[in-house]
Symmetry: C2
Subunit: 147 residues, 2 copies
DNA sequence: ATGTTTGCAAATCCTTTGCATCAGC
DNA sequence: GCTGATGCAAAGGATTTGCAAACAT
């Protein structure tokens, strides 16, 4: 199912931005990933799919920075796990990260609806909560105690 | 009012941790700051207060990493503005960061109470929301349009 | 044709590490 | 006195930048 990246490419064109091969590949990789990707994971993914089309780190950085600027991808600092990127289009989801075991739990975007409403009403601020990483302690670590 | 850092030092001692001069100075600087500090701001602050006591970057990094590990400071990625640190003790506050003008708005911790409750109830996860940075568009930029 | 984007290499910035010395308990 | 913290210098990693060549529109 390659709907996501097609949509993104349409959006990009509609904004009058140029669509080049490297850009296409980055968008494709992000669209196919069922997860948020680090720069190196992205690079590996693209290499695997298109072994003949080399992509420099520089280009990936620049493409991501551009996609972020035009509001199509989110960038999240996942702490020890590095910085990850993802398309902003599918049903959003976010992550809870356990400070003890390092495990991650995926949570639904609905959890943030109330927060969005509050920030908008109280502070007249339009939050763009594309991908949140929240740290804390997971159930297992809270019970079984820690290291 | 130097209550905050005294408390922290007591806590540290109570945990059987060593209290050295560099550690004391970092805690003092964080306690006096009315804001979250970057590494370099912290360094400048300490230099200003104690010109004769040099502190290597390395030590600041190590002290902060240690304070974070024992749960006394928060670390937040503020995007373009870098990574900031703060003591976790005073009434918490958080920041809204405008993606357009870069301005920041300070918000109350109460905003996150509902979120904490939801995460705890629905995912059995104990979040540690010490300092959040939320990106979006501020009122002024939403009205006056952008660059 | 024109203005943008790419790739390479090098620069820069932030953070961590090895190791000898020094300080807290 | 023993154990762990510090400082220096150097390594490491991630991200950015300058400039010529390649590309999309």
């Amino acid at each position: 199912m390659k709907g996501a990246e097609m949509d993104v490419i349409e959006q990009v064109k509609a904004q009058g931005e140029r669509v080049t091969l490297p850009r296409r590949l980055v968008i494709e990789a992000l669209g196919q990933a069922h997860d948020h990707l680090t720069i190196s994971a992205l690079q590996r993914h693209i290499q695997a799919e298109h072994p003949d089309q080399p992509m420099s780190d520089t280009t990936i950085y620049r493409v991501l920075q551009w996609l972020k600027a035009i509001g199509l991808v989110s960038q999240t600092d996942m702490g020890q796990a590095g910085t990850v990127y993802a398309l902003i289009d599918r049903p959003q989801h976010h992550h809870l990260i356990c400070l003890n075991c390092g495990g991650t739990i995926t949570i639904d975007d609905a959890v943030f609806e109330a927060l969005r409403a509050t920030l908008s009403a109280q502070y007249h601020f339009m939050p763009r909560i594309d991908h949140m990483a929240i740290y804390g302690t997971c159930e297992r670590c809270a019970d079984g105690d820690n290291s």
